[in-house]
Symmetry: C2
Subunit: 599 residues, 2 copies
Amino acid sequence: MSMRSHTCGQVTESLIGQEITLSGWVNRRRDHGGVIFIDLRDHQGFVQVVCDPDRPEMFVLAEQVRNEFCIQVKGLVRARPAGTENNDLVSGKIEVLCHSLVILNASITPPFQLEDENLSETTRLTHRVLDLRRPQMQKNLRLRYNVAMECRRYLDAAGFIDIETPMLTKSTPEGARDYLVPSRVHDGQFFALPQSPQLFKQLLMVAGFDRYYQITKCFRDEDLRADRQPEFTQIDCETAFLDELEIRELFENMIRHIFKITMNVELPNPFPTMPYSEGMARFGSDKPDLRVNFEFTELTDLMKDVDFKVFSGAANQEGGRVVGLCVPGGAEISRSEIDDYTQFVAIYGAKGLAWIKVNSVAEGRNGLQSPIVKNLHDAAIEGILKRTGAKDGDIIFFGADKEKVVNDAIGGLRLKIGHSAWGKEHGLSTEGWKPLWVVDFPMFEYDEDNARWVACHHPFTSPKDEHMQYLESSPGKCLAKAYDMVLNGSEIGGGSVRIHQEAVQSQVFRALKIGAEEAQAKFGFLLDALQYGAPPHGGIAFGLDRIVTMMTGAESIRDVIAFPKTQRAQCLLTQAPSPVDERQLKELHIRLRQAAPAA
Amino acid sequence: MSMRSHTCGQVTESLIGQEITLSGWVNRRRDHGGVIFIDLRDHQGFVQVVCDPDRPEMFVLAEQVRNEFCIQVKGLVRARPAGTENNDLVSGKIEVLCHSLVILNASITPPFQLEDENLSETTRLTHRVLDLRRPQMQKNLRLRYNVAMECRRYLDAAGFIDIETPMLTKSTPEGARDYLVPSRVHDGQFFALPQSPQLFKQLLMVAGFDRYYQITKCFRDEDLRADRQPEFTQIDCETAFLDELEIRELFENMIRHIFKITMNVELPNPFPTMPYSEGMARFGSDKPDLRVNFEFTELTDLMKDVDFKVFSGAANQEGGRVVGLCVPGGAEISRSEIDDYTQFVAIYGAKGLAWIKVNSVAEGRNGLQSPIVKNLHDAAIEGILKRTGAKDGDIIFFGADKEKVVNDAIGGLRLKIGHSAWGKEHGLSTEGWKPLWVVDFPMFEYDEDNARWVACHHPFTSPKDEHMQYLESSPGKCLAKAYDMVLNGSEIGGGSVRIHQEAVQSQVFRALKIGAEEAQAKFGFLLDALQYGAPPHGGIAFGLDRIVTMMTGAESIRDVIAFPKTQRAQCLLTQAPSPVDERQLKELHIRLRQAAPAA
């Protein structure tokens, strides 16, 4: 190639004595003893270039270059003088003696140093092009690519084919808010951007494609949190003629393969499997972080008749729960730290944080230090110590409230303590990767506000065969063939076996109080398709952004997306969204509710 | 796997004597001599299943199945009785003697036979799920997948990485019409769906990613023709540090590789290269179909002083052109066919179609049969015969008008005659694949209506180095580093070396009369990025839909898209676009100009 013979990453000792051509960016220029040293950077690495004044034509140019100039260098690869090697670099044993230099493009002074680790996100996103030049961002996006490509290779080998589904689809205002696209041709009508290809992939199964996947953008117009973007990428998969266990095995193997190939990490084989009910009982969570190795103790039944009203009230309340969280060695946690934890659980609605420090189990009540012990009768105390298995030097925290508050608050506290510096020192959490399957989700949850049952997963999820009977009579008892893949406390994938029979699908719609007419209007094309010999099928969707964020250890998914939006759903680089011409709106048959803002 | 041990495509003689399990659809059921024969179909093929009444439990079920039932069959593979083999099928030598049968899902009677080749597009798109079950559609979408996956493999090996660019971008009302997406968070502002990732891929080059690709959806809200869809898929590629020849070689190899792997077709190596000016001179086209082997003869200079006003008028007019199209053996074309061709060229604005039948070259003027010969002087006639190289039995058609009308009309006529049944019989066109590069495009073309120069390719295309001087002084003379890949008369890919210097980019904007302020408002982020040492870069984008349409020989790109829109930009399956709730519009700060249509 004319502009380079090698990339910076390819230059090692094996090239000593050869003349090579490199193209890249000036990462740094140093003048030292009349000689100019240039750290040349490209997408693969760094090479030190030495510019000697004995080639004046070249040297004049070398004097002009500044950081981020794009240059081409021709020169001789030679060993660095003894003592000046840099073992941190692949090319650290060599340098290139510059014979000629071409300034391919100059650069004005960048608004920040690429090495600066303390840039605000606003600065980084406004100058995203420079931000992306940083080796960490290059690495993140290359890892993202490798993950996606390895998925494709794995799925290809397993007989899946990528089929594109539409981006301009029908609005079905269930679940999250749709992004809408006004139609020019059809006055007053709108497309919606897909929240997921769920229905299309099911239709492809009915159409006989057997195995489908797509790595595709999905859209949800929701208020954004740190790990959300208006557009995000799903690895979306569906297969016919496999049951739940077969589907899970196939995709568990995929994730294991990807971690092995892209990160050289061996995930456990097989992943542990945990029913939803067990996750809630032991960790207050349907995505338990198994790196933290202490858990809830159920105490509800024990606390019904204690004097302490906070406990007995919750224990006797419909939907109330009392749990203990025994933290090994936690008796050394100070009062001020306990106060901090009390504030922390308040975020989840907990009205306080009761605790017992266990100084000596053998001494029973007298060996305990706690504001609440006096209100607990002996049987309760004995039960607490026995069930938690507390040892001398432990602390037991308590949650007593409505089930959701207890689960969220004490679940959150478990993670906070487990991952704290103190928790790590005391072996309460481990490094590394702890995947699991959470299975046996409920079909429905009760929506108190609207006094009706709603689908936990989505309304196309199949009930368990033996729970079909509960569908309309006792929806709360009905479990689903749904499964989530959880890694280190994050849901990285979720799926289910789908309903493939029209009669069952209609029954589920009835359980959800979706009338026949509404079902027909919204999902008629699915009900229709199910009548033509739809095959048994199921699938899963993985969140690519989240998986790669976890792999890179990045703080935000914005660090694994080339051009992300801010939490206010703006692109600071291009200034989207932006006002548009009145002419455009007219063609789309819409107008603004208010006068247009200043452009 | 529990629901099947093999797919239908895997069942051959090698399995004779084995019991296997298949799952699939009833393609046809025949009752013959008290035995039921089921043609079982899956995504890979067909297998004949024989249901004998001596297994009554199974036979009762077999009697119930109808076309498109989804069933599971367990049975013994055995050789078909001699004389009943079907050599058209992979499984034509065997059949499966059914031991047990499970009806996985029944089907109501389909609205059409899957074998029916005469369905209206409305029927096919309304019942798309059934339409997609047809083996041809299965084949089309699998070929599409293979093409895309082979691209990925090729690009991966060449160091390209797939980087996702945003779907919610900024509206820049140049070129085609944008699809707009109202912002909920930013009152009165809009995102646009990308017409292409052009600017983002250039930004990625500036960011140092070296080689980028993406197989991605692009959107144009234009009135649709047979080969257009509101959303279409581009194989979008960009590389830094390569020049035009290197880029073309890389992607020519890619296309050759894909045709070889997916179609077992050997494309020529190298592709011929033709300057834009030559394409217009010889074929009146910037995407000449080289399968047709006769071409234009330039006559403009010869016709300036003839009596025939149609010719002399066009020849003397600024921007006029006169050409001949000599069709070998065409003297046998009848008068009524000539009348049809005259009507055909009228579509392109031609006011008539002059012609000369060459009965005998040796006899000169007397050997010609034509209404116009009497108005042409001897030198003109001699020139026509000499330049066209006409032989006895040929016909020469003429175009004389504004250049564009001549090129379109006579260019169209060339294809029409070349590909007609008569043309094929007479060897005027060949089967197979004729790729070429068209290069040296003009930078600008003059827009008469708005009296200004516009970019031929797009305003980020680099001028040729030696034409930089013409940029502002004589834009019409300035050629670009732009190139199209053309196959059988269709542009399948187009690209260019881009401008990588801010000063040149600003100069091009000035040539296009885009003021500094407008340029900053629309493309400020690009101009900004170019100032930080942007590398030399260029790329290309291929139209995946079109390539696969050509490969499959389909009539419409709708046959290679799973869920396409109609020419009225509607999805007949899901009924998108559709009316939306007033609440949704309110949240988006827009209202309809007219009352909402009935839902």
